[in-house]
Symmetry: C2
Subunit: 470 residues, 2 copies
Amino acid sequence: MSETELRDGEAAPAETNLDADDRLKPEYVRAVLDAVDRGDDEEARALVEPLHPADIADLIELAPAEQRKPLVAAIGERIDGDVLAEMNDWVREALIDALEPRQLADLAGDLDTDDAVAIIEDLDEADQRAVLRALDPDDRAAIEEALSYPEETAGRLMQRELIAVPEHWSVGDVLDYLRADDRLTTDFWEIFVVDPQHKPIGTCNLSWVLRSPRVVKMSDVMAREQTLIPVDMDQEEVALRFQKYALISAAVVDGSGRLVGMITVDDVVHIIQEEAGEDALLLSGAGDGDINEPIIDSYRARVRWLVANLFTALVASAIIAAFGGAIEQMVALAVLMPIVASIGGNAGTQTMAIAVRALATNQLTRSNTIRTIRREIVVALLNGATIAALLGIGAALIFATPLLGWVIAAAILVNILVAGLAGVLVPVALERLGQDPAVASSVFVTMVTDSMGFLAFLGLAVVSGLVAAA
Amino acid sequence: MSETELRDGEAAPAETNLDADDRLKPEYVRAVLDAVDRGDDEEARALVEPLHPADIADLIELAPAEQRKPLVAAIGERIDGDVLAEMNDWVREALIDALEPRQLADLAGDLDTDDAVAIIEDLDEADQRAVLRALDPDDRAAIEEALSYPEETAGRLMQRELIAVPEHWSVGDVLDYLRADDRLTTDFWEIFVVDPQHKPIGTCNLSWVLRSPRVVKMSDVMAREQTLIPVDMDQEEVALRFQKYALISAAVVDGSGRLVGMITVDDVVHIIQEEAGEDALLLSGAGDGDINEPIIDSYRARVRWLVANLFTALVASAIIAAFGGAIEQMVALAVLMPIVASIGGNAGTQTMAIAVRALATNQLTRSNTIRTIRREIVVALLNGATIAALLGIGAALIFATPLLGWVIAAAILVNILVAGLAGVLVPVALERLGQDPAVASSVFVTMVTDSMGFLAFLGLAVVSGLVAAA
């Protein structure tokens, strides 16, 4: 990895602390923690010195919970706002609780509004007030306004620091303005052109400004088409819009169309990643947790789901109980029935995962719902026929009962078909009802495939005369 | 939504074609397709006129497969490289097959190398050669070199178009250079400073250049620390690095450290989204498909998984068969056993989803594996105790058999504990073996929870004396 990063002299050793996948090496983490344990803060600081803020955040996450506070105390001023902004939510929350409002205000004051808000919004109200009181009046006003927007909206994501210029300015005017005023932000990727009401009328990538002679008017350089983000837009929609239109930054406007802030792609990337990765967690019923979530929160989120599944399992059990007589006559039914339910469950989960993803990425809309359902029916028929043939022939041979083979083949075909239908219809129905399909689909789909698996198999066994009716 | 986007005069109606979630309205899609059906190409073109390339790509995806070619023929020159670059892979592939190499070369010639490569890499070899022959020699050389890097690496993602300047230049030199040469790229977000061997030694955000007086040396403006991407780095690693260090663009270097290209965040965002969203699909066994994948490919990907699950279900069935005598004595065992397996499966899936996600985001490393396992054991004990109590008391009451309640309670506790362990250990083990934990974890975890569910429940029923041994 030595050629993969350029660092200045003293920073060079940082490279060796990371493995090939950019993760901190366990030996390194242990060395830092050992130094902290020994009380050798100087050694700990020296070890941490070359790290990027994102890696310091990782280091704190990787430390056991009880060692995090001593670690933070030891490396002191390296814990700045950037480190906090990069940190896992749960770990940050625990850490912030341990800091004084004064210290927090110092950290937050150095940050862009969006990062400061991300830190302050998690505090309880008394702490929030304490931190806000300790901030500069300017910072306080900006952060208070951001906090007035609902959580998870553009208003919380945006930073107030941006460059906006009037239409009649030339490129030269802009250069002079940018060079003259020290207090302007240094991190921006486009310059917004606004009318006298501060409404955006165009935007300039910095590269366009750089390539234009001084005399050219900004109105001749700017693009008039631009994607604007309403300040109350949900952050997931913001992320989809950034992705769809390949945006680097975008202007945020209030209800009357005035420019109030700017969102940059680096603030959106982690939302894109979280929202996309969340589906796997939500579908599994693990909530929005991760390995840093407090155990009691994980327990609450997961046990709720397991109890819900307990009730759906009871429905399936009730169906089996109704066929108790059939099972007593032929214990092979009890041996084979979980296969029908389990394969159906798997087929339903496949379709559901595809449908939930397609809904989340706006691929599955009213325009192609019917077509998608037809498509999934065809896939289900192909899958069903294959598995039915394998399982039917196998069961007929093993149990030397051809009719049993026909019964299980028919049951699995029916269940995979039902699974395919439920796998699309349940998420689509939940979405139309305004629910997040990733959250609730699994319970319903599993209930359908479990119940249908037992019902089809045991029911067909009775109907076909394989066993006598109870 | 009228205030959410600024468009120039003729583009204004575009807004009304999108619903609140930025999806094309079904009425609009139907209107375009109707015009195409009627042969009224002029109307179709007029309707499509105001659309953003990303929305044209969506329109084509939303059209039924058989109507896509007539639609593309009707709206003609609006199908440019940007539209192709935005399009779903499967839809694009089918469409490209219908185009002449000459047409494709025209489209690809207009694009940055990375987008051109994304289109050309999917062609079969004969078509690739035909398209390359039809390209300008410069474009051809750039694309051929990109194609020489393995798929899904930085070399395929990067664009060659970038701005690199020598260290001794001043800001004024850079401005003059950028203003003088028309052939330079207009889309860049940082300027790389290179040494005489073309090795990057620093980087300048454009905003820093804009804010500096002409006389300042680039070496005084640039940051010496920068994240470099090796040209052979896997695209998933590239995406993680962009995310971790909040990059907008980054230099790509070859084996000897020379600057060979640049990757921008907009090319990485869809990888972040795909890789994060992929886990839900892979865990479900739906492969890397989506609703646009050809049916036969979906069938192949999914049936393989169902067959694998058929074998794991057979293992569970064999365990049940071994306890056939017990079930004949007490049919309640057959009624209750799927609950134990199903709840265990759910608990395992929850833990597995968390672990797979933590591995994918580099949160779970060697430094905290043991701690994470301990954590999951505690959560499993809490979940297990809760469900065991509910189910044990319920079963004891309903079947009026206290011992049955104790047996199922013990079995569910054991199975949820085993599920929690398997849910972490299986993904971690697969990752250490160099496998993608999202692909194979489910099969193993399900096999463990199914088998253990039946074995623990039926085994305890025999051991406890609830039923006589077979």
